[in-house]
Structures are given as C-alpha cells and as structure tokens.
C-alpha cells in the first residue's frame, strides 16, 4: 500500500443550527485515506456518515478542523477553488445515481471535464474512455431515462473517475441496485482504488465492507471503532510514512 495520503480530516467538527437547536453532526473526527485504499464508513442513520462525505468533498465546510485533499486544505479555499477541486481531484458517486436526465451518458461523464474548460471533443473522448473502463462504451449516446439502474450507476462511476481524479467518494452507491449489480459496482470501485485512487465508501451493509481495506464505524458523530490493516493510524492519525 502506498503511504500517500489523498484525504486527511483533522479534528473535524460540524455543528448545524445554533442555541437549543444545535445538532453536532461530527465531533472531532480525524481520518485519513491513502492512495490505493478503499475505506468503508459504516454506522446507523444519523451517525454523521453523509456529513463526513459532504465535508470531504468540499460541498460543506466544517465548523472547526481541517480537510486536506492531496495536500490542499479545503477549508481555506474559496467556493470557486473548491469547485475546481471537485472537477479535478474529487469524484462523487451517489445512491440515486444523480445523472442529469437532459444529458447523454457520455455528456454526463464529460461534465466535470467540460466544466473545467477542456474542449468538448477532448472531454467526450475522455468520457468514452471512462465508459469503456466501466464496460458500457456502447451506451455512450443514451439518455439516463433509457438505461437500467446498474448502467446508470456505472455512468456515475465513470463520471467520478474521469480526468484521473484520485479521491472517489461513494454514498451508498448500491442502495438502489439489486445484489448482483451492486457487487458489480463495488468491483469497479475496488478496481479503481487498486489503480491508485483513494476511495471512501459510505454503506450500511456489512457485506460491502468486505471489499474495503479498512472499515470505520461512526456513531453520533465520533469514530467508535475500526477494523483493518492499520487501526492505530486511523484513530490517532500518527503518520505511517
């Protein structure tokens, strides 16, 4: 395993609301994901799994603590700069696929590249390559409404990895899929991590954890347990390298 930390959360707290309505979604979480590693985050509803993911992707800002992706602290970046990070370094996969129905499969995959200002032709070429990697190159010109759930999720994974992004954040990516298709999707995620990306997989199904290198358990916004190769590192964040 490479010792290269792609995602590093340090003492991250997230508080929603103020006064008596205050909700502590995350309470001082520290957490690192390395290149080539797939980390599963598990926990019951409301444990803070999704908040962790939105903060890791720069969609939300922590109340305190720092979030570094490939060495860049997201909390110091502007909205624009964080958006750029999502185009170039971070890929999202959602439970509901979240493809844009008005765009074809290839266009959905090309979206982050196009948004990044890459020429449409090149973006499309890259998208086709990414679709090939997830095994659905022949569906490039179809619209999402004309695809099955599994096909849509493959497109979503292709979109998350296109342009060599090294952090893939997946929020219950198999939740809307049957078992067999779900396994197929996880195999793709695993392959992507084996190819050098860091993956964070939020799931509540124990059997999915089998695909992960490590499992982190969350409850009420704190890490309560972990399994895997390097438990001490996860909890204390002492450098392995």
């Amino acid at each position: 395993m490479s010792a290269d930390a792609v995602l590093r959360l340090s003492d991250v707290t997230r508080v929603h609301g103020t006064g008596p309505h205050q909700v502590h979604a995350l309470r001082g979480i520290s957490f690192t994901a390395y290149a080539g590693e797939l980390v599963a985050v598990m926990g019951p509803s409301g444990s803070g799994k999704s908040t962790l993911l939105t903060i890791a992707g720069g969609l939300d800002q922590p109340t305190s603590g720092s979030v570094a992706v490939e060495g860049t602290d997201l909390t110091t970046l502007s909205l624009d700069a964080r958006a750029r990070m999502r185009r170039t370094s971070i890929g999202y996969v959602f439970q509901g696929f979240n493809l844009i129905p008005a765009l074809t499969a290839a266009e959905n995959v090309a979206l982050p590249r196009e948004l990044d200002g890459v020429s449409a032709r090149q973006a499309r070429a890259e998208a086709r390559k990414a679709l090939e990697e997830v095994g659905i190159a022949e569906l490039a010109d179809r619209f999402p409404d004309d695809m099955s759930g599994g096909q849509q999720q493959r497109v979503a994974i292709a979109r998350a990895v296109v342009g060599d992004r090294r952090l893939v954040l997946a929020d219950e990516p198999t939740g809307a899929l049957d078992t067999e298709t779900g396994e197929e999707i996880l195999r793709l995620l695993r392959a992507r991590c084996d190819a050098g990306a860091a993956g964070v997989l939020v799931t509540h199904e124990a059997r999915h954890a089998a695909w992960a290198d490590r499992v982190v358990f969350l409850r009420d916004g704190v890490v309560v347990d972990e399994t895997g190769a390097d438990p001490v590192d996860v909890l204390t964040d002492h450098a392995v390298r």
Partner: protein, 895 residues
C-alpha cells in the same frame, strides 16, 4: 334518476376535495402562488383601472346638466332652420325637416327672437342669453386664443356655469372674469384684457378690466374669459340665439313644440327622466350607434388575443404546479383514482387562482383607478364627471381573469391525467413523447391562417374594415397553429443541441423534456413577436404610403408667402427681419380678384379645353415672368427654349405627375387662352378676354406650383392686371425663423400664409406608437421568458446540485439561467416572426390601398424585427444572467 343524483353529488364532492387540495397547495407554495396571481391579476388591474378612468372621464347628459345650463330648467338654441326634430339631448342628434330646409332662411329664428321662443313655452318664463365663442387676445408675444362666455352672470339661472376662485364676481359692464390658465399667460386681476375680434369691417379691439378669477365647470387649462352679454362685441342679427330658460320644468311636449319652430332644447326635466324611445320622431336621422359590428369584432379579436397571451404567460406556472403535484397524483392513481379526478385536482388550482386573482384584481383596479383619475385629469382639458366604478364591466374583467386562469390550467390538467404513473413513481422527471397529431393540426391551422390572410389582402373595394377583420382573425388562427408547432420546434432545437456549449445544451434538452412548462412560455413569446411584427409592418407600410403620396409644393427647403390682403411692405419687412436680407423673391402674378368677380383662365387647343392640374404654392396659378425663375425645378424640357418662348411673349404650361390622369398637354406650339369672369351672384361666367400665343411645356416633379408661367405680354393681351401676390424664399429656413415669422404674420390680422417645404415629416405619433410597440413587446417577452426561466431553474434544482457536486463553478447557474432565457426567447421569436410577417404583409394592402389607383405600399421595419427577434432574446438572457443567483444548491441530494 337516483343514479344521476348520486353522480352529481359525487362530482360535487370530488370538486370539494380538489378545491381544498388546490387551496392548501396554494398556501404551501406561496412564492409560486404569488407569481400566478400576478400574471392573472395584472391584466385585470390594467383593464379595470382603465375602465374606471374612462367611465369617470365620460360625462353623461345628466352628469353634465349643471355645467351646460347652470341652474336653468332648459337650454335652448335656434338652429337656423324652420323646423327640426331632435333626440332627447339635441347635442347627440337632430335633423331638419319640413320644406324650408335652407339654413338661415327668411323665417328662421335668430338671436333677436327670444319672444318668439317664449311664446311657445310660456311668455312669463325668465330667460338669459348664453353665448360662447372663440376669439383672440393680446399677449406679450402677440396673439393668443381664448374661449369667451357671455351671459347675465348675476342671474341665478347661470349658477353652476362658473365657479369663482377669487376677486369680484359677477363682473359688471366693461369688466370680465378670466380663468387661471389665462391669468398664467399674462394679465391678472386689475389688468386690462384686450380681446381681438375679426369682423366684416376689419379688426375690432375691445379692452376689458379683469376683476376676478373664475373657472368654467366644463373645461380647464384653456384660456377663458366671461362677461356680460355684448362684453366681447355685439352679435350680428343673423347669429343663432342661445338662452337659459327658467320658470319650471320644460316638458318633452314643449321641447317638441320648440322643435316645430326650429329651436333645439335641452331640458333638465326630459334628460333626468327620459321619455320612452317611442316618443322620438321617426324622422330623426339614423345615427351610427357608435359601436358597430366592425368595432365589436375588433374588440372581440383584441380580447381573444389578450386572453391567449395571458393564458400562455400564466401557463408555465400552472404546469410547474401540476408537476409538483405529479407524485401525489400518481399515488392517487395507484390507489385507484381516475384520470378525471387527477384532471380536476389540477383544474382546481386554476379555479382557486382565478377566483382570488379576479377578486383581488378588481379590488386593486379600484385602488389604481382612484389614483389614476386625478393624474388623467391633469392631461385632459375637459373636466371629468363624478368618480364612477363601472361594476358590470369590472365583473366582466374579473370573469376574464378567472377564465384565463382556468384555461391556463387546462393543458397541465390533461397531461397530468395522462401521466405515466410508473415513471412518476420511479422518479423519472421527463415527460413522454410529444403528440404527432398536434403539429399536423398546427400546420393545417397555419395554412388556414395564411389562406385567410391572402384572401383578406386580396379583398378590396368594400372598404378596409372587413378585410382587416378577416386578416386579424386569420392571424389569431395562425398563432394557434404556431402554438401547436412549438413542441416540435423545441424538440428539434434539443436534437440539434449536441454541439452547443454545456449550459445551452442542457437548457435546450431540459426545455424539450418539460414541454408543458416550456411550450406556453415559448408560445407567449411567439405570439408577442408575431403581434409586434404584424403591427410593425402595418404601421411602417401606412407610413410609407403616406410618404409615397406626399407631394412637395416647393423645392425642398423653400418657403413661400401668400400676401392675400396684407400689406406687401410690412410682410417683406417681417421676412427681412427674420431671414438674411434680400433672400426673398417677389412673385408677380395676373390678379384674379376684381371688384366685379373672380377671373379664371382657360387654355384651348382649338376647341379642346385643356385640363391642367396645379396647387398654388406660389400665391397665384398664373405667375408672370420674363424668364423661367430659378426656383422652378424642371425635369423635362430645355430651360433655354422655355426662356425663349417667354421672351417672345409666349407662355410655359407646367406638366406634373397628376397630369397623367387629366390627359397629356398637346405639344402644338400655339394655344388659345380665354379669361372668364365669374358672376358673384351666380349665373354663367362671362368671357372678358382671349388671345392665342406660343406655348411650351415644362415637366416638373410632384405637383406643379402653378398652372402657367405667362410673359407680361400675354397678360396684357388678355386685359388683366399684374401685381405682387407673394414671395418665394430659397432655403434653408430654420424652424425657429419659421415660427417667428408665423407669429409676426399672425399679429397682422390679415393672416398672410407662410409655407415652408420640409418634405414628408413622419407624424411623431407614429414614432411613439413604434416605441410603445417595441416596449410592450419587450415587457411581454421579458415577462414570459423570466417566468419560464425561473420556474425552470427551480425545477432543475436537482440537476444543478449534481453539477455542483461534480465541480460546477457558482456562475454555471447563471449560464444555465441565461441559456433557458435564450432558448425560450429565441425559439419563440424565430417562430413568431414569420407567423407575424404574413398577416403584416396582408394587412398592409387594405391599409395602404390608394382609393383611386389601387396602388399599395409595403415597408417591413427590419430594424424593429431585428430588435425583437435578436436583440430582445439576447437582452433577456443578459438580464437573467445578471438577476439569477449564482450560488448553486450544494447538498440538496447527498443526504
């Protein structure tokens, strides 16, 4: 029987539930509801407020009684005829009957015949004369116009004609009261008012002392002076008599008795309590009732167009509301709900918004009307009647608002009842495939519309009215056809969007996927553009026709003065004072006015009398010169040759474009000239001189400024006198100089006529109408596009969140918003413009057809069309880009 009762009850119950749901939904989505209410209310408020101003401004016969007759029981006036019949209000209609129907015949009553009038209705009735006329008065600058009123103002019969503001009232002999408008222009209380009156003997000046300020109750803002009878000079004995009559009600029978002696009467008793219409004389001339069938049809067409526009503008909001309810409706359908119930639920939204919008609109209309009436009064010199709210009309307008809301909900209601329940429950957000039938029907309607327009354009002869209605009606049919083609057009744009930049591609595809929302918005823009293009072409073509038919009287920039009875030295001095000295050239002509009657020349080729056309811009048809003057622009004929003819004692006849209709002037070398004198007492004209001279023909452009240029010898041989009749001034003449000269000449009293040829001047009203047209089109387009765009943005929230998640910049939302606006505005404009061109071309024909030649003019205002088709969509997109929030919804879907 019981089954049908049960069904009615269930229908009623179904509506109750649907209405309750619609009410709750309206409360739940307040922003959207507000938007819908605004779209439905605005036209109701605008039309409602306008109708209040209109009804208030309109003074009915009863409302105007005190203004017209003060406190008198009747106002009577002699008609100048022996016997008349009148409507209950003679100012609306009257007719002359009897054998002696010549105006001012020997037995007719006049200003001296009050006794004869009173003989009919009671000799002991009190009466005072009341006369109004228009005269001039001296101002610091020269002369101004004023309205005068004379009556025995001390008499209680005149109470209510004037209201005293300050000073002394009533005025005594040699005194007047004036209104504030006159006082503002010069003389005030204590000053002298000099009234100028033109009489047969010349100008009469009357000095009067101003003792007070009083306002007339009918008008405001126009200078007015009031005094005792005769204060502004004595009336001639032949003038019409006008009196206020008191002494008790004047009955309809008495009015008819007055009519029998040629007197018209407005009786307070008759007008406040109208006799049945059967009392009116059958001999009363039939009048246009004001609203004829053409007017009604035009009103109906306008109402239909407005209704269509409102429905289209409000349509997207209802579509989005129906979409928001789609999931609930699908659940209802899954639980066994019928399509009819789904339809009713969506229609109920229209009913709720329609009722609230109508009532709210009327309430706001009354409020706006209350504010608008005093504002409108400022711009109107006639005093308005009492504040009047035309409730039946407002109810009609409210019903219009209700109808538009329900109609706007119809299409979303039907698509909701046909939605794919499985797709909706599975969370798919698009709509099914577009209907294949509707574009075909659209093409058919478009074809019918074009055919109608062509037929209307060809239909000539019977006046423009019916042709215009046919064209306007087919324009509406064309627009309906266009609406049915919109889904196809939007789909086509989506299919071609593959190569477009991301934001535009997304907007185009998304627009096509949400047809019920997009189509009405695009159609609203299309209908607006079609209307603007049609009216623009109509306006421009009419303007072009006016310009084509404009005939200059002089070379461009030249001015001319006709002396008439004015003193030549004085006039020339005025010209020299205001223009560089020595510019004006005196025009000499054969004098045609003699003490024994008017002289007229006739030109003959043997026995054939020539018909010659002219417009005497040179003060005389027969100009006397020894060579062709420089100011005459000759386009055919050799100037040297013409000069030679004049030098040899001949004449030059002018041939202009009107001559084609009158027959060509024969080029025979010699023509006979006769002079005839017209007997002022009637009878045949008498030949007073004749000669035969060399004649040459000069071709001039436009209309010739005279009939002929004669050498002095010709006039001498005819025995006519030659004199200075006017002057011509080579240009340029500034408009300031023109105004100064006009004022100075007006002060002479003899009114010499000064004319400056400035070519065709576009009526400023046309420019204003064009600007209003572009502005109105812009507002409607902006409204339609903005509504659709922001509704689309709220619909596209999940997609925007996805874009944010994959790294879209905040400004991406602006780009998407602007692209929506561009798609809606652009597609609408591109569809609407050609649809508007056809009726535009068509209407230009009946509108500009020359009554005689049948020639028509066509002018397409390309600039206006470019602004509307290209400029406005771009502008709207720009406005949207600026107004749209840049911030993307970030975490909307990752929880």
């Amino acid at each position: 029987m019981s089954r049908s009762t049960g069904r009615t009850a269930s229908t009623r119950g179904g509506w109750r539930i649907a209405l309750r749901l619609a009410r709750r939904e309206a409360m739940r989505r307040k922003g959207q509801t507000l938007l819908m209410l605004v779209l439905i209310c605005l036209p109701v408020v605008a039309v409602g407020a306008a109708s209040i101003v209109w009804r208030t401004q309109d003074v009915s016969s009863v409302e105007g009684l005190d203004r017209r007759m003060g406190a008198a029981d009747a106002y009577v006036e002699t008609s100048g005829f022996g016997e008349v019949v009148q409507a209950f209000d003679p100012s609306e209609n009257y007719g002359v009957i009897g054998e002696d129907d010549v105006f001012g015949g020997p037995d007719t009553l006049g200003t001296a015949d009050l006794d004869a009038v009173l003989d009919v209705i009671g000799a002991d009735r009190p009466a005072v004369p009341l006369r109004t006329s228009s005269l001039s008065y001296r101002t610091d600058e020269g002369l101004g116009n004023l309205e005068t009123l004379t009556s025995d103002l001390a008499s209680s019969l005149t109470d209510g004609l004037l209201t005293k503001v300050r000073g002394t009232y009533p005025p005594g002999p040699g005194e007047v009261v004036v209104n504030q408008a006159l006082a503002d222009r010069g003389p005030g209380i204590g000053d002298t008012l000099t009234v100028v009156r033109q009489t047969g003997e010349g100008e009469q000046q009357i000095d009067l002392r101003i003792v007070g300020i009083a306002e007339r109750t009918t008008t405001r803002g126009y200078p007015m002076a009031a005094g005792l009878p005769g204060a502004f000079g004595a009336d001639g004995p032949d003038e019409m008599g006008q009196w206020l009559i008191g002494g008790g009600p004047v009955s309809w029978d008495e009015v008819q008795a007055l009519n029998a002696v040629g007197v018209l009467a407005s009786s307070r008793a008759v007008l406040t309590d109208l006799p049945p219409a059967s009392e009116l004389s059958p001999e009363l001339p039939v009048m246009d009732s004001g609203i004829d069938e053409v007017t009604l049809t035009v009103l109906a067409l306008v109402a239909a167009m407005v209704l269509l526009e409102v429905v289209l503008l409000a349509g997207p909001a209802f579509a989005v509301r129906a979409k928001a309810q789609a999931h609930s409706l699908a659940l209802v359908a899954a639980a066994g709900g019928t399509p009819r119930q789904a339809r009713r639920t969506v229609l109920a939204s229209g009913v709720v918004i329609g009722v609230v919008g109508g009532v709210l609109g009327v309430a706001l209309a009354v409020a706006v009307g209350t504010v608008a009436v005093p504002v409108a009064q400022r711009f109107d010199s006639t005093r308005f009647g009492p504040f009047e709210v035309p409730w039946p009309l407002l109810a009609l307008v409210a019903a219009f608002g209700f109808l538009s809301a329900v109609l706007a909900a119809v299409v979303p209601a039907f698509s909701s009842s046909r939605q794919d329940v499985v797709a909706v429950l599975a969370g798919r957000r698009g709509e099914g495939k577009a209907s294949v039938r509707s574009p075909i029907l659209g093409l058919v309607l478009l074809g019918v519309g074009i055919a109608g327009a062509v037929a209307g354009a060809g239909a000539g002869g019977d006046g423009g009215g019916s042709a215009a209605i046919l064209i306007a009606g087919s324009a509406i049919v064309s627009v309906l056809g266009m609406i049915l083609l919109v889904p196809m057009a939007v789909g086509l744009v989506a299919r071609m969007a593959g190569r477009l930049p991301l934001a535009l591609r997304f907007a185009a595809r998304d627009a096509a996927r949400h047809r019920t929302r997009t189509v009405p918005a695009v159609a609203a823009v299309g209908a607006t553009v079609a209307g603007v293009v049609t009216l623009g072409i109509a306006l421009a073509s009419q303007e072009a026709a006016n310009e084509d038919r404009y005939v200059p009287m002089l070379p461009a920039g030249y001015g001319s003065v006709t002396l008439g009875d004015s003193d030549q030295t004085t006039v020339m001095a005025i010209l020299d004072r205001n223009l560089p000295e020595g510019r004006s050239v005196t025009v000499r002509g054969a004098l045609t006015s003699t003490d024994d009657g008017e002289l007229e020349m006739e030109f003959r080729d043997g026995e054939d009398v020539l018909s010659l056309s002219y417009w005497s811009a040179l003060s005389t048809p027969y100009v006397v010169v020894s060579e062709v003057p420089d100011y005459l622009e000759i386009i055919g004929g050799d100037r040297a040759e013409l000069d030679a003819t004049l030098a040899a004692g001949g004449m030059v006849l002018l041939d202009d474009e009107n001559q084609d209709d009158l027959g060509a002037i024969p080029d025979v070398g010699r023509l006979a000239v006769d002079v005839r004198r017209w007997d002022p007492e009637g009878g045949e004209p008498e030949l007073v001189g004749t000669t035969e001279v060399d004649a040459a023909v000069a071709k001039v452009e436009g209309t010739s400024p005279a009939v002929a240029f004669l050498s002095p010898e010709v006039v001498e041989q005819l025995g006519m006198e030659v004199g200075d009749v006017g002057a011509i001034i080579p240009g340029p003449i500034s408009s300031e100089a023109q105004q100064d000269i006009d004022e100075a000449l007006a002060a002479l009293g003899t009114s010499p006529y000064f004319y400056v040829e400035r070519g065709y001047q576009t009526d400023p009203a046309v420019r204003i109408i064009q600007a209003v047209l572009a502005l109105l089109g812009g507002i409607l387009m902006l409204g339609g596009t903005l509504t659709a765009t922001f509704l689309a943005l709220s619909d596209a929230r999940p997609d925007l969140a996805t874009m944010a998640a994959v790294g879209a910049r905040p400004r991406t939302r602006r780009g998407v918003a602007a692209s929506y606006a561009l798609v809606v505005g652009g597609v609408g404009a591109l569809l609407g413009a050609p649809v508007g061109l056809i009726p535009g071309f068509a209407i230009s024909r009946p509108l500009t057809r020359h009554w005689e030649t049948g020639a028509t003019s066509l002018d397409v205002p390309w600039l206006l069309i470019a602004v509307v088709v290209i400029g406005l969509p771009l502008l709207t997109a720009g406005v949207v880009a600026v107004c749209a929030r840049g911030r993307l919804p970030l975490t909307a879907r990752i929880d």
